[in-house]
Amino acid sequence: MSSLISSPTVLGACFFLCITCSYPVHAETAPVSVESITPFLKQYCIDCHGSKKSKGDLRLDQLSTSLSNERTAETWQEVLDALNMSEMPPEDEDQPPRAAMIAAIDHLTNRLYKAGKQLTDKTQATMRQLNRREYHNSIKSLLGVPVDISRLPNDNTFEGFDRVGSVQEMSAQLFNSYRAIGKQALDKAFSRALGKQGAETFLIQAETEHNKYISRQLKIRNKSLEAESRLISKGQENSRRLDRTAKKYVVSALYQTIPATKTGYVFVGDENGSPQEFSTPFPNDNIGTYHLTIRAALTHPSPDKPYIAQVSLIGEDGGSTPPKDIGIFKIENTSPETQTFEFELNRSTDTLDTIVIKVLEPSIKGGGHESHYLHTIKQAEAKLKTALEKGNKLPLPLYPQNSTPTGKTCFLWLDSINIVGPLKNPSSDQAFTFFTSKPPTQPEAESVYARKIIDKFTRHVFRGQAPADNYITALHQIYLSYREIGTTPEPARKAISPRDKKRIRMLTRKKRNNDTTTIDPEFIAALREALSVALSSPRFLLHAESSSDKNLSALDLAKRLSYFLWSAPPDTQLNKLANQNKLAEPRVLRSEVERMLAAPRASSFIDSFTTQWLGLDRLQMIVVHKGYKKFNEKIRTAFKEETLSFSRELIRENLSARNFIDSDFTMANGLLVDFYKLGEPHIDGFKRVAIPTDSPRGGLLGQGAILTLTSSGERTSPVLRGNFVLSRMLGSPPPPPPPNVPQLQFDGSPAMPIRERLRAHTQSAQCASCHQRFDPIGFALENFDTIGDWRDNTSVETMVLLRKVKGSRKNTDLAEINSRSELRGETLNGYEGVKQYLSSKEDVVTNHILRSMLIYALGRPLGFSDNQWVSELHKKWQVNDYRMRDLVQIIVSSQPFQSQ
């Protein structure tokens, strides 16, 4: 390629060439060249920085254009800095035309960025450590108990991926966190081993709390109404407040008249008729797996559709923990024929402490048979107000005694929620067995017994690596110092805090009848102190591979595979195959990969990879303006699930990666079918839904998650959307903005159309050089609004933006969307145009997906020296039509995956 551009005559032409080559699929390993800058230099710089003069001791005519070493690159960086800060050429010298300036800055910026990466080329793998996910799964698998890892700091990432050893860090702070969590894990494991971790059953009768609440509310409202009545008599009435209070009173009083409220909770809707939620605190403090049984029915036959409700677990801590959906259920039966719904729920953190049940359909607002209910409220409200104005005494008989004013109105009735758990983890075939026999009572024998446990446990959690003898001895000494035998003169009993003692008593008390083991709690406590050290030691937390030569040993391959596809240690079958030395046989390996991808645990890989590749976490952080009425937390959750299950579908069904660019289906639940207008909504959760021919959807960029996470929450951001395409799909992220370039000033209305506003980017050469590469892609996606909804004009956005300006609510002219844009000579016509553009670059897109998954799989950055074999894999994948499960197979069977 360098020969192609070595003798350019026209600047424009040469830069066009650079750009078409700037997404290297089969990139060369030669140093990055800035040769094409030469004509620019000759014309504007060499006079002062050449053979005649060499101002600032800088001779650009002698500076190598090959960025082969750091010093050269450094000098070129200084040249770029001078251009960026408009320091050069000096004002009194010949100034280059704008286009040439843009081209020069663009060229140097991108070339230096690339050279920077090439010169830092550190492709050799650095040993990885367990990331948060792997730590959690390892403890769960090796000890058989889940632990709360919400207190561990976020993982360091490389290009978004959390498995890269060279950026992972182990610090004193982290070490202490691992110590604390390790002890918690051991507590749980012991209590499980001693058979004390019984699942508890809690029955929540839905009416209990709410009926108390309604009675309290009525008392309070009654008092408020009395106060209002006094004010009315004095002529100081506040009609808005009165309306509000009266309405709330009427609604609460009406609630009591519904017979079904005596035996359960009735979803009547709030005073405006909007759907209402039922919430109750989660009755058990422990995390783990629970079994949930919901009993519900309709109070009367529903005239139209069945009721659909959703149960989820939320955090009361101000929403900092994302809510967890447990399931959706459909209620058709009429009381007393109660329906029973069962759910399995995995509570991963104790900050999720509230169960919420919400009616999704029908929305009570909006007439139909519900209008009778709203009408009843209105009548009672009028009656109450008249009475108040007349000065009648409260409380009033608002509704006739023993009547049911709501008549046969259909409501959803919740009878009870039954919660059993935490259940024993069924999937831990690797869980450590602490006590195969009762510990001896004689001190010396007990000590020997303890040392055996320590030795066995350490080997177990070190995943097949042998600990050093002196290490086991050291742990044993720790055990002994707590056990008060011999080595420590200090009274070791003191070492166990009163709180620990209490906890241990709790563990060893309440023995079941079938459990005759009696184990001294202080023995357990001393053992815990010793074993917890193993859980923060290098051989547990680091992925050390013990293979002696370049090829991985069978056991190391099993671990690599298992942490890649499951984020967890190998299971019994993998270990067995490794021990028999069969795993590396291509056929065996292939079928193991198929088996692992089919297991539910594979979603740990697919979801993590997809989230990290696409930067999906950002979706959670976008604060969507309330002006976007169609958006709510349900939609946000559904967006994320759509993109994740789309990825799962491609892998599980072995579909082509081209579907990321354009697809004739997406994964949607009823909510999304409705949002995207894909046809008749269904209620079976997420499934494959065909995209109608006249729909603009299909591909990643038609998905709400991607469109929302690349917006500001108030308006679309063509900059972020364009940047997303460059970084996440084409694998060619723009360099960070140059420092010390003054920020752009905007005048005019905040509601100025984004395209006009961003025109400022083209005004300065420093901005234009990069922004011209991605802003136009974003412009072509402008038919999707902030939340990914289709639009023809900016009416909603304009309203949102104007609302923020004081006193300016005037209706401005609607700006029609113009989604045609010019991307460096190519016309992009709306989203279809973007799809075509990306399809024409499908080798670049697929190459980026391949590289991304390789970084995830190998846990190391890919450098220029990897280009050769990566491009071979890419060719191999191309033959397989870029099918996604084949990609996993190709990676696993590659030589770099199977060697150190």
Partner: protein
């Protein structure tokens, strides 16, 4: 060590009585009358500030007009100065979203294109080496749980190896670090230290045996283990050394856990004041909150603004600009609060804690992506003949922040001639 701490003086603080282990080998040996030690406090704002934060560069001297954002400091003008036109020349090219990474190091962490990130020692840590030697804590690093605007690093402080020092974001944890708890006894502390050591020893054995079978590249990982073990060991040694000198009693009740935003910052200031007063430490760095302040702005106005967008406000009509101006005013209110707190504490010689403490507040970013001519407020330090109450304008784009750091080190009595790329310090700061 014991003899040094045998003389104790009781000081009446503003709200409470704190036992102050008065000692300083530097000063006690040379002067007869007790002289309070010099202290340094460094505050960083993360992202840059609005134009209303800067006085007019031409309007210098004592009677300069306070900019709009500084209204809250009107009453305090004699206590602080504004320093215009300072820049970290060495780190101009650093990522323009990193407002704190090189603030106190004045160096380029990626000096040569292609080299990895490597920072150098920060000036607070230079100070800690000299004036923190005899204190329970040579320095204390405070930070915020907000992530925006800071850039790389766990706090403002970087040690001699260029490693970032852990910063504590929870005021409650600092409270427990500073003050005595009722249950701790010397016996239990000794036990705790011994147990911690045995755990470190065991961990070290595993790290060593693992390290022996690794190639050089992988050894980087076990090296991290060795380093963290050394760090914890060093802290244990210090704890052991101070075991017999009880910590001061808490002058106020323990704060709630995880306090952030304005209440969090005010609590950090209370903790700083108490720690400086009791001479528990002489050097503080504190990364001020940012996102949690904007949460307060959102609650007040209903407008939620993300931190990064705030700094790219475009025109002054936008709510981003309103948020930035609001935040800048808040910074000045906080700065005023810290001045008040330090000014209320009377020291052994009748001077105030403020007189003996030099405080700086600023950022490595001016506004937006501009890393030149950054905002710098300097307060206190009268005991060291620091002249306050003026607007000093240095040479635009040229004057070095490292010269301010050097002058601050000189104020504290550190015998250093150079810091980073400094050129001798600023003599015009002193009377």
């Amino acid at each position: 060590m014991n003899t040094q701490f045998s003389r104790r003086q009781i000081l009446a603080g503003a709200s409470s009585v704190i036992t102050l282990p008065y000692m300083s080998s530097l000063f006690a040996a040379t002067v007869a009358a007790p002289v309070p030690p010099r202290r340094l406090v460094f505050l960083n704002t993360g992202f840059g500030v609005s134009k209303e934060f800067f006085p007019n560069v031409a309007d210098t001297g004592k009677s300069y007009a306070l900019p709009k954002a500084m209204e809250a400091l009107t009453k305090h003008r004699e206590h602080f100065s504004f320093l215009s036109n300072l820049s970290n020349i060495a780190s101009l090219r650093v990522n323009p979203h990193w407002g704190a990474t090189t603030f106190l190091t004045s160096s380029d962490p990626q000096p040569i294109l292609g080299q990895g990130f490597h920072n150098s020692i920060s000036c607070d840590q230079v100070a800690a080496q000299f004036i923190g030697k005899t204190n329970r804590y040579p320095s204390i690093e405070l930070t915020t749980s907000d992530t925006a605007g800071k850039g790389k690093g766990l706090s403002l402080a970087w040690d001699a190896n260029g490693e970032s020092l852990y910063g504590e974001a929870d005021p409650l944890k600092i409270f427990h670090r500073l003050f005595a708890s009722q249950s701790s006894s010397i016996d239990s502390t000794r036990n705790k230290i011994r147990r911690e050591r045995s755990i470190l020893d065991a961990t070290l054995l595993d790290a060593k045996s693992l390290s022996n079978q690794l190639n050089t590249n992988d050894k980087a990982k076990t090296e991290q283990y060795f380093s963290l073990i050394r760090k914890i060991e060093k802290n244990l040694a210090r704890e052991e050394q101070w075991m017999n000198s009880p910590k001061p009693k808490a002058p106020f009740a323990a704060p709630a856990s995880g306090l952030t935003g304005t209440p969090g910052a005010l609590m950090m200031f209370d903790l700083m004041t108490a720690a400086l007063q009791s001479d528990t430490t002489r050097v503080f760095t504190y990364q001020l909150p940012l996102a949690s302040l904007l949460d307060e702005f959102a609650q007040e106005t209903g407008d939620s603004v993300a931190a990064h967008r705030m700094t790219h406000y475009g025109s002054t009509e936008t709510k981003e600009y309103q948020a930035l101006l609001w935040r800048d005013k808040k910074l000045c209110q906080l700065f005023a609060a810290l001045i008040d707190k330090l000014n209320k504490v009377i020291e052994v010689d009748g001077s105030t804690l403020l007189d003996n403490t030099l405080i700086v507040m600023g950022s490595d970013i001016r506004t937006g992506h501009m890393r030149k001519n950054v905002p710098i407020l300097l307060a206190g330090g009268r005991a060291g003949k620091i002249q306050q109450g003026q607007h000093l304008a240095y040479r635009q784009n040229e004057s070095r922040l490292s010269d301010l750091w050097l002058s601050m080190l000189h104020f504290a009595g550190c015998p250093v001639e150079k810091f980073a790329d400094s050129t001798g310090g600023f003599s015009n700061l002193f009377i």
